[in-house]
Symmetry: C2
Subunit: 160 residues, 2 copies
DNA sequence: CGGTATCCCATTTGATACTG
DNA sequence: CAGTATCAAATGGGATACCG
């Protein structure tokens, strides 16, 4: 299979990767979440080549992740995260958390996240929206929509 | 900058991407989380070229994400997720959720996640470990370790 | 089954220079 | 500032065949 076919796979992971899985794209998004909005700032902070950056930004705008606009007053050009773009935050945070946990030097994580709502530094976790418990891979079952009903039956019978 | 330098960036996102950010790698991991463990199954289910798959698996083993071993009884060869590998689950789930939300066809998401613990299908979310509230990008502040103390002061003074 | 070995092509990349 | 233009070099990708 060609990589390009991945965009049309019946899998949300594959489709997402087709949009944000290219090299550099996540680092551009990182900068965006850190507050950067301008071409040259993206360029400097990531070290990406200018032509590649231009291509990535174009694609991200096309996919509705950035909105390209002039700053207030008609100043410079800005790339602002749309709602669709902002919604990628969990992906970035998950990557960061994993790196914090498994790849950090002995100084520990370089960056901390403060949750304005509660004013605390937080180590975000992914949880079950029903029971609030942390989602651990081993406790999860992935079921294609067609098999949902039967999977539920089996689980119930098993006394879960 | 060269891409290779990214692995040594002082940023957990960049470092993580250096390990799992290559093309195909996430799709291999997806298969692993769906229960696959064998070369040919990875190959068939992802459509990746065999030589590339071999290279990716080698790298993932080297990075301690897979453990390569013979199946019980000395049968075939298996790639099993280590703890480090299993810990990538949130990354995969976040990608999947974003795709579910923004890229799914009109049939809706192709795959559902059942949390064995509570027996319900769940839509995982990333939350603050302190207050339990959902983490929304706009409500977060990223602070380099060196500026942690001052950032906290400012927040407190602001009455947050 | 679980890979290697080859070979070739396509794409990506990075550097640099240029422009309105 | 926000890009284009160009171009050489590197890498990655895919198909196929082969092997223990």
């Amino acid at each position: 299979m060609r990589w390009r076919a991945v965009a049309r796979a019946n899998c949300s992971v594959a489709r997402s990767l087709a949009v944000v899985g290219e090299r550099w794209t996540m680092l551009i998004l990182r900068e965006a979440f850190l507050g950067q909005r301008r071409f040259d700032d993206f360029q400097r902070n990531t070290g990406i080549a200018r032509n590649i950056l231009a291509a990535r930004l174009r694609a991200l705008v096309k996919h509705g992740i950035f909105q390209r606009a002039r700053a207030n007053g008609g100043g410079h050009i800005e790339y602002r995260l749309t709602d669709k773009g902002l919604d990628l935050y969990p992906v970035l945070v998950s990557l960061m958390r994993w790196g914090d946990q498994w790849l950090a030097g002995k100084d520990g994580p370089p960056l901390f996240l403060i949750h304005r709502g509660c004013g605390r530094t937080t180590r975000p976790a992914i949880v079950c929206t029903h029971c609030g418990g942390p989602l651990v891979a081993r406790e999860m079952l992935a079921v294609p929509r067609a098999k949902l009903a039967s999977a539920r039956r089996v689980l119930r019978r098993a006394g879960a």
